[in-house]
């Protein structure tokens, strides 16, 4: 694959796996594939989730409180 194709193709492949993992969070094979692609990418790539979501053998991006839920936030004390 030419470099330019790689520049777009690898982030895109990772992104596709990310969408798949949202509806198949228990699919370990897909998660391993995703982690492998992320290792080839810059941490700032749009397809790469933060390290804290890659700790488990399950897809944890979807878990826990989301930013709009109170539990995900702290009070801002001055």
């Amino acid at each position: 694959m030419r470099d330019k194709e790689k520049e777009y193709a690898i982030p895109f492949a990772a992104w596709e796996l990310r969408l798949y993992l949202n509806t198949h969070p228990g699919d370990e094979r897909a998660l391993e594939l995703y982690k492998g692609l992320c290792r080839q990418l810059d941490a700032k790539s749009y397809a790469v989730v933060a390290d804290e979501f890659l700790d488990d053998c399950r897809w944890t991006w979807i878990d826990g409180p989301w930013p709009w839920e109170a539990e995900a936030n702290c009070k801002w004390e001055v």
Binding site: F12, L19, N22, T23, P25, W61
Partner: protein
């Protein structure tokens, strides 16, 4: 919070200008079934979802649609780069140019400005997921129509990528709907809003 990567998800490199084609492609920018409608629909619907998979999918797909909005804007930008007023007039682009020059304004091909009337957030996951599946199909049909109208291979290449993404999103929404229905009592699922009852 939103972070911006300074690169398109799919490259856009168009050799020839074509304001007439830009005139119809703009419907995928600010039209009823375009990328702006899609992104705001999904990013707004995610708040009333109860299934974590739906919160994740609507967030990620909504963000991807913003990326597609940028791709469509880039196509229009390149199709209208440095055109002359005469070229604009003979291609029927003059009615757009008079109000927007070669700026990119969120409107449909008909000239109607974008409106939130194009989307709904019903606050009921089953209802909203049905709308999302319909939205992806409407977008796919719009790309089908644009591919019928396009005689430029550089443009058609990008349109085919965007069209394929709509089909994949449709499958993801279908999976979410199935998960939601599977979790509910089969005899009662039309009578209950899982986000409110």
């Amino acid at each position: 919070m939103f972070v911006y990567e300074k690169k398109l998800q799919y490259p856009v490199r168009i050799a020839r200008t074509n304001p007439q084609l830009a005139q119809v492609i703009i419907s995928q920018y600010g039209g009823p079934d375009g990328e702006l409608s899609a992104s705001l629909r999904y990013l707004s619907q995610r708040y009333s979802m109860t299934d974590p998979a739906a919160k994740g999918a609507l967030t990620d797909i909504g963000v991807e649609e913003l990326g597609h909005l940028e791709i469509v804007g880039s196509v229009i930008y390149q199709l209208t780069r440095d055109i002359s007023p005469e070229e604009a007039a003979e291609k029927g682009f003059d009615t757009y140019l008079v109000d927007h020059t070669t700026g990119i304004y969120p409107q449909a091909a008909s000239g109607t400005p974008h409106t939130m009337a194009y989307i709904q957030v019903k606050g009921d996951p089953i209802t909203d997921l049905h709308e999302d599946m319909a939205a992806e199909m409407k977008a796919r049909t719009t790309y089908d129509n644009l591919l019928r109208l396009s005689d430029d291979p550089d443009v058609s290449d990008v349109l085919k990528f965007l069209r394929q993404r709509e089909i994949v999103h449709y499958q993801r929404f279908g999976e979410l709907l199935q998960r939601t229905i599977d979790r509910m009592n089969h005899r009662n699922f039309f009578a209950v809003n899982p986000a409110f009852d």
